[in-house]
């Protein structure tokens, strides 16, 4: 064992190979202080920690469950009271109601009312679905993601087609002549009178394609959609006679560019994300569950 000369004070403090009582004491104190700070922070922020203090963001603690200040203000506002002008009595009333509600919710959990009350069960299902959906829309998709979605579903982003078409029905024998007259530009009323036909009245002025499809039926609509403005269809035989479609104006659906469709794309993107999240939640719950099905229902 050899004795060594004690190093200079500054060097000894930094040299971890040398025992330095003051350094040890200070580091121990700092560690304890840090521990206390962390414990203090956890005391006031961690969930499930018992506290005797009402946090600043709450108006009350009911069995350690905070009643949020935002919700309290919201309740005051729901009573058409400006929170700034609410009297102490109003505030007490609202707070008491909220505490009572919280107590009853906690009691409901103890009693497990969800097991027996169909309305509560339904509300619980909806709440879990809503939670999954809320998680899905917390982040805004960037422009590239939206554009990718738009490119993938391009057909969806178009204006609805519009047409102004008249549906005339004639005796089958007169249909060919009537068509010739209409194609030559004769007024539908005149042609109908001359060849014993009539306007079916199925369409009325300018209509979206979906409305024209409903009014005309699939076969006539398909024929109408193919017509250009000013054209007359071939005769289409039906139970009530031969139909001639006179297209006064046909504006087919027009594709929206990305910028025009952006708001709709964003809404659809989020709706798709919500559906995906809810599907994933469903799958997750089923995977982790132990579901036994009776033999007769397998």
């Amino acid at each position: 064992m050899t004795a060594t000369a004690p190093p200079a004070a500054g060097v000894a403090w930094l040299d971890i190979r040398t025992v330095h009582p003051r350094r040890a004491l200070i580091l121990m104190g700092a560690g304890a202080g840090l521990g206390l700070v962390l414990a203090g922070a956890a005391l006031f922020t961690a969930k499930g920690t018992t506290t005797l203090v009402v946090p600043a963001d709450a108006v009350a603690m009911v069995n350690q469950q905070p009643i949020s200040r935002i919700d309290f203000d919201g309740q005051l506002r729901a009573l058409a009271v400006d929170p700034a002008k609410a009297t102490p009595a109003m505030r007490r009333q609202v707070l008491n109601d909220m505490i009572r509600e919280e107590l009853y919710v906690q009691r409901a959990k103890e009693l497990d009312v969800g097991l027996v009350d169909p309305e509560v069960r339904s509300a619980m299902v909806k709440a879990v679905e809503a939670q999954a959906a809320a998680d899905a829309i917390t982040s805004k998709p960037d422009s590239a993601e939206l554009r990718g979605f738009y490119d993938k579903h391009r057909d969806k982003y178009a204006s609805e087609g519009v047409m102004v078409v008249r549906d005339l029905v004639f005796p089958p024998a007169a249909a060919a002549q009537a068509r010739t007259a209409l194609a030559a530009g004769a007024a539908p009323e005149v042609v109908a009178t001359r060849f014993g036909g009539r306007d079916t009245g199925k369409t009325s002025g300018e209509e979206f394609y979906f409305a024209a499809r409903i009014h005309l039926g699939e076969a006539l609509f398909t024929a109408a959609r193919a017509l250009k403005t000013g054209e007359v269809s071939e005769a289409i035989a039906d139970a009530d006679g031969a139909h001639l479609l006179v297209m006064a104006r046909n504006t087919p659906p027009a594709q929206y560019d990305f910028e025009t469709a952006r708001a709709q794309v964003a809404t659809d993107y989020q709706a798709a994300a919500v559906a995906r999240y809810q599907g994933a939640e469903d799958g997750f719950l089923r995977r982790r569950a132990n579901v036994l099905v009776a033999k007769d229902l397998k």
């Binding site: 200070i26 580091l27 104190g29 700092a30 202080g33 840090l34 206390l36 700070v37 922070a41 006031f44 946090p55 600043a56 963001d57 949020s68 200040r69 935002i70 919700d71 203000d73 919201g74 506002r77 400006d82 929170p83 700034a84 709440a127 809503a130 939670q131 959906a133 809320a134 829309i137 917390t138 982040s139 805004k140 204006s159 609805e160 519009v162 009325s204 002025g205 300018e206 209509e207 979206f208 979906f210 409305a211 409903i214 910028e259 025009t260 952006r262 708001a263 709709q264 964003a266 809404t267 989020q270 919500v274």
Partner: protein, 233 residues
């Protein structure tokens, strides 16, 4: 070292006390100048990180997305009270959060079934044009008297527009129904084709709720900041 720890702890305690004071105040209470400056600076940081993506760095919105301009004095939901802004930021709009704003959607009148919630019949392109003429006339523009009369009948009748936007078409901030007779547009530029698209395709913009993602004090700070945007001269 010990003194550094003490300073650190004291700083944290002071900061917590300051945040506590801010939260316990009524949301719309007048703040002391230094308290307001600190809250707005913190709120701006939160806004830049969480809100600017949709509302823009200056909060002027994006009519392409239907993200409202927060720097004007027009409030789509509520009256612009800080408490209301805070509630909107906390729980969102059509965010699937039960406490969020979710009372009304703009039906798609150019679709076979305009609304999933209400029984409404579709409108024809001509009907929509008439409603636009009626609204233009309400804004003081010239429009065909016949079209305006037809549009008024649709607005007040089978279109059911009055139900959300009000008999005077001035909107209803209790449900987020925009004013249709001012110069503020949530979607598009207010031109007839753009209004036509809104009526024909419907609108249902979404804003996520930030409760749980932002702390209570951050919610308050960003709400104060949003309010301050509309107060700028």
């Amino acid at each position: 070292m010990l003194s550094l720890g003490v300073v650190l702890v004291a700083g944290m305690a002071q900061s917590q006390a300051r945040e506590g004071r801010l939260l316990r105040l009524d949301p719309d209470a007048r703040l002391a100048p230094d308290q307001r400056t600190a809250a707005l600076a913190a709120g701006r940081r939160v806004f830049r990180a969480q809100c600017a993506g949709c509302h823009g760095p200056d909060g002027r919105g994006d009519t392409g997305y239907g993200a409202p301009n927060l720097a004007d004095r027009d409030w789509l939901y509520g009256t612009g009270a800080v408490g209301e802004i805070e509630q909107t930021i906390a729980y969102g709009i059509r965010s699937h959060q039960p406490k969020g704003w979710n009372l009304a959607d703009m039906p798609a009148f150019g679709a076979p079934r305009p609304s999933a919630k209400e029984r409404l019949d579709p409108l024809s392109p001509g009907d929509i044009g008439d409603v636009i003429a009626f609204l233009s006339a309400r804004r003081g523009a010239t429009a065909s008297a016949e079209a305006v009369a037809r549009g008024r009948a649709i607005y007040q009748g089978r279109g059911g527009c009055y139900d959300c936007h009000g008999g005077d078409a001035a909107g209803d901030p209790a449900i987020g129904a925009p004013n249709l007779i001012d110069a503020v547009w949530l979607y598009g530029d207010g031109s007839p084709p753009s209004v036509f698209r809104s009526i024909a395709q419907g609108r249902r913009g979404v804003m996520p709720g930030f409760a749980g993602r932002l702390s209570a004090v951050q919610l308050r700070q960003v709400s104060l900041y949003v309010k301050s945007l509309s107060e700028a001269p």
